[in-house]
Every structure is written in structure tokens, then in C-alpha cells.
């Protein structure tokens, strides 16, 4: 039925992705987001203008203890059924800065993470892979 098709079409764009771009991984996010068709293929849409439209946060880059407060604030503004994708070594674990005095050793020390994408930096395709995994996990 035509109605079902319309609903399904709406469902395919259910990941509204906010990039919390903190370091060089944000460039890889931008490379992925620049091709809207690729994002759409994994059911995602980058949110640019209004962070509160988002239901997925991508932490791309190095979280420092000083900036962690702001990351937490963004997380608190996500809807309750939102998701967090940690993109790259730094936000996964501290990465190359694992022993630094200023870098948070993984954003998951502060907020729950649903999908980790490894790499330093990961390729744009890896972000799409992570989003596809998230989409799959959410289910139909």
C-alpha cells in the first residue's frame, strides 16, 4: 500500500546524526557527511543547524577533561532514546594520548556509548559502517 511505503520511507532516515567534532576525526566525519547519498543509504542524515533535532551523537575527536563538561551537556540534550557513537581512538580510549594529563581516557567514562568505531582516524566508510551497525541494532 502507498501509505506503508510512505511510512517506510520515513523510517529509513531515522538516524539524525550530530557530529561533536573535537579534533581531526571530524574531518573524516565531514568527508562522510558530504556525500548525503551514502549517509542516506545507511539510514542517516547529518544534523547541522539545530543540535536538538539529533538522536545520534558522534563523538569524533579528542575529548579533554576540560571539554568533557560540554560533551556531557550535549548528551543531556539528546532525547532519552538517543544513541552515542564513539568515532576514533581518542574518544574510544584516549588513543595516542592515553597517558596525557589533560585527555579523557575514553568518552565512555562519562556517557554510555552504543557503537565504537576504531581507527586513527577511521576512514569515512568506517563511520558509515558504524551507523549501519547502529541502524541494524535498533531493528526495523
Amino acid at each position: 500500500m502507498a501509505g506503508d511505503v510512505t511510512i517506510e520511507w520515513g523510517h529509513t532516515f531515522r538516524l539524525h546524526v550530530l557530529d561533536v567534532g573535537l579534533a581531526c576525526c571530524a574531518v573524516e566525519f565531514a568527508a562522510a557527511a558530504a556525500r548525503g547519498a551514502d549517509m542516506a543509504a545507511v539510514g542517516a542524515r547529518p544534523v547541522v543547524a539545530r543540535p536538538r533535532e539529533a538522536n545520534v551523537m558522534v563523538i569524533s575527536g579528542t575529548v579533554t577533561d576540560k571539554l568533557a563538561v560540554q560533551v556531557k551537556r550535549l548528551y543531556d540534550e539528546l532525547p532519552a532514546d538517543g544513541f552515542v557513537l564513539s568515532f576514533g581512538s581518542c574518544s574510544n580510549s584516549g588513543g595516542p594520548y592515553w597517558d596525557s594529563y589533560s585527555v579523557t581516557k575514553g568518552v565512555d567514562q562519562m556517557i554510555p556509548v552504543d557503537v565504537y568505531v576504531p581507527g586513527c582516524p577511521p576512514r569515512p566508510e568506517a563511520l558509515l559502517g558504524g551507523l549501519a551497525l547502529l541502524n541494524e541494532r535498533i531493528g526495523p
Binding site: D65, K66, V69, W98, D99, S100, Y101, S102
Partner: protein, 158 residues
């Protein structure tokens, strides 16, 4: 005042402001940067570089202050641009800049203890965890000497 091969002039701490004033009056109108490094037993070395835009020439000056109560006069009266550099150097090395209008920490979060760019600053992660960068899983790091920033066993922490 002596000058080394790289053109850095060593000045006594009590001549710091006077030498800087001479440079400013001599045409160095642009404050490039100021920072410091831990020179172990010789104390903390503070280095500043200034530049003359019109003449296209610069000067680098260096002085040493004690580790315990290092204090230097601020250069902010000569170059307003020295303000942030001095704030950063103050929090990273524990050097006070007398007369600075606002010496609050610039980069470190509130409540941070210690001065992280000093050699004696303990890197807690290195104490708690082996270096995770071994090429192969299980690769031995036994016998490796203590990494910088880690005190001898039992000297620090619970």
C-alpha cells in the same frame, strides 16, 4: 647578557623587564610567544621571542627562575599579547608573573592540581598501565626502564 649560537640571549631574572623594554623600544613591536621548559637542576627556563614587523628581525631572550618560588615581572605592560602566554606558562610550570592582570588558569580545568609540564609531574596513566603500544599482543616490555613521568615503585600513589 650572553648570546648562544641560536641567537638566544640569556638574561638575569632581575633584568628581564629591563631587557624586554629595551627590545620593545628598539622596534620589536610584535610579541611572538613566551613559554618555558624544565631545565632540571638549573631551574625553570623561560623563553620569549619578540619581532619587529617593520625591520623583519626578531630577538629571543631566556632567563632562569627557581623551581620553588619562581617569579618574573609580567611583560603585559609592554605587549598586551604576552597575557595569555604568561597565563599558560604559569599554570603549566608554576611560575608566577608579578603584576599580571589576570593569572587564572587558561587551559586546565578548575581544580587541577600540579603543573603538568614539569618533569616531576606524575603521569598517573603510565603508573597504572603498561605502555599499550606493543606491536604484537603479549610482546614483552619487561626490563624496560621506567618511562618519563613515572616515579620509582612505592614512591607515589596508594
Amino acid at each position: 647578557m650572553t648570546t648562544d649560537l641560536a641567537g638566544t640571549a640569556d638574561v638575569d631574572a632581575d633584568r628581564w623587564l629591563a631587557v624586554a623594554t629595551e627590545l620593545r623600544d628598539g622596534g620589536c613591536d610584535f610579541f611572538d610567544w613566551l613559554s618555558a621548559y624544565d631545565d632540571a637542576d638549573a631551574g625553570l627556563a623561560v623563553v620569549a621571542r619578540v619581532w619587529s614587523v617593520a625591520d623583519r628581525r626578531g630577538a629571543m631572550i631566556r632567563t632562569r627562575v627557581s623551581r620553588d618560588a619562581g617569579v618574573l615581572p609580567t611583560l603585559t605592560a609592554l605587549w598586551a599579547g604576552a597575557g595569555w602566554h604568561e597565563r599558560e606558562t604559569a599554570e603549566m610550570f608554576g611560575i608566577r608573573f608579578a603584576g599580571h592582570p589576570d593569572l587564572r588558569p587558561l587551559l586546565l580545568p578548575a581544580g587541577f592540581e600540579g603543573h603538568p609540564l614539569r618533569k616531576e609531574f606524575v603521569l598517573a596513566s603510565r603508573v597504572a598501565k603498561e605502555w599499550p603500544g606493543a606491536k604484537e599482543p603479549g610482546e614483552s616490555v619487561a626490563g624496560r626502564k621506567r618511562p618519563p613521568g613515572v616515579p620509582p615503585p612505592g614512591a607515589w600513589g596508594p
